[in-house]
């Protein structure tokens, strides 16, 4: 792999964001907000605890789909940004594989998940290991008994959509993701397996 993760994370993590005079953060073709992780986890927990078993799938899919759209549109904006081009593009030897590795360096640098691709069959399958992710903190107050890293699931499949799906913006939902291990379940890392639908 050509991407130097350590260097990429060191450089990308230094990018600062904050609201402009209008209280907005326009970046990467989207509007950004910068909120405490415990807000997102708390909302997830409240929804999962409140919903009837017959509708829990709807809630889980909704949470994952939100992340998939975010990962797809914002991910596209990020990999085409000046910041990504400055740090990652010089390291790219083979596209889109190295760009995909670079995208997971972004994920690590910006506090979504300390994660990396551990297996990649181009166009077909990807396995991601996450050694730390904010969604896992939900275990402090909620014992789910099942994987609940919906944000990371959505992001993983969205990044594969960008790399190997039809050209943006038509590639969303080309791939699907299954979470097979989770820190929130007591595993040593979270594991996310992405495959074609």
């Amino acid at each position: 792999m050509a991407i130097n993760r350590k260097v990429a994370i060191e450089q990308l993590s230094q990018i600062k964001v904050k609201g402009n005079q209008d209280g907005l953060i326009p970046a990467f073709g989207v509007l950004i907000q910068f909120l405490p992780t415990n807000f997102w986890n708390s909302f997830t927990e409240k929804m999962l605890k409140s919903v009837d078993q017959s509708k829990i799938d709807d809630v889980e899919k909704g949470l994952e789909n939100a992340a998939a759209e975010c990962g797809y549109h914002t991910g596209w904006g990020i990999i085409n940004s000046e910041e990504f081009r400055a740090v990652i593009s010089p390291m790219v030897e083979k596209a889109p594989e190295d760009i995909l590795h670079g995208a997971f360096a972004v994920l690590s640098a910006w506090g979504w998940a300390d994660s990396e691709i551990t297996e990649l069959i181009p166009g077909s399958r990807m396995v991601v290991c996450a050694y730390g992710y904010y969604e896992a903190e939900i275990e402090d107050t909620y014992n789910s008994g099942r994987p609940v890293a919906f944000m990371l699931k959505g992001i993983c499949r969205a990044f594969m959509d960008i790399a190997y799906g039809p050209a943006y913006p038509k590639g969303l939902n080309t791939f699907t993701c299954k979470q097979t291990k989770g820190l929130e379940l007591g595993d040593r890392f979270g594991e996310f397996i992405v495959s074609k639908r």
Binding site: G19, L31, Q33, F43, G62, T74
Partner: protein, 176 residues
């Protein structure tokens, strides 16, 4: 101690976490925030909007309380300024607070949630800024030295519906 508000972003290279003023924080886009909000709306039967408001109020009660404590004794106006500044700097929009002990008003000239919703879909008649409502409730409680969930917030006008600004009326619950 200086009462100027600073929004300090740092990175823990070991845990790979971003922090804002020592609170683990994460950047998300308007797609994420509006789709979570839409999920809350779709789950009205389990109080989805209220759950989102509560989560936001609880989260920012902690964030703003710390911001006030580290600055020592402050006037009400200084606390209002911090609440407005943090709202702006974290990208939620531009807010002007008018705070009395039994309630008050807030007006947003810009809103991440409303403008993100319009950007993603189109205008819609009902308010959707449950996140903003939760933030405002937390801020009023702390500015007035009251406990969590002391104030009720009602959004009376919304950018998402086509209004030039969003407006909220805030009422002390024992008075509501």
């Amino acid at each position: 101690m200086s009462k100027d508000y600073s929004f300090v972003q740092t990175f823990d290279p070991v845990r790979k976490l971003q922090y804002v003023n020592d609170d683990p924080s994460v950047m998300h886009c308007h797609h994420f925030a509006t789709l979570y909000t839409k999920l809350a709306v779709d789950m009205k039967d389990i109080r989805g909007p209220e759950l989102m408001r509560e989560a936001m109020e609880e989260s920012f009660y902690i964030v703003l309380k710390k911001a006030f404590i580290v600055r020592g004794t402050m006037s009400k106006e200084e606390k209002i300024k911090i609440a407005e500044e943090h709202f702006r700097l974290c990208g939620l929009g531009k807010a002007r607070f008018s705070v009395g002990e039994t309630g008050g008003n807030v007006e947003l000239s810009h809103s991440h949630l409303d403008e993100g919703w319009i950007k993603k879909w189109q205008r819609q008649p009902e308010p959707v800024n449950f996140m903003g409502q939760g933030y405002i409730a937390a801020a009023f409680s702390l500015i007035n030295g009251k406990s969590l969930r002391s104030y009720q917030v009602k959004e009376t006008q919304s950018i998402v519906s086509g209004a030039p600004t969003s407006k909220f009326t805030v009422t002390l619950k024992e008075e509501a």
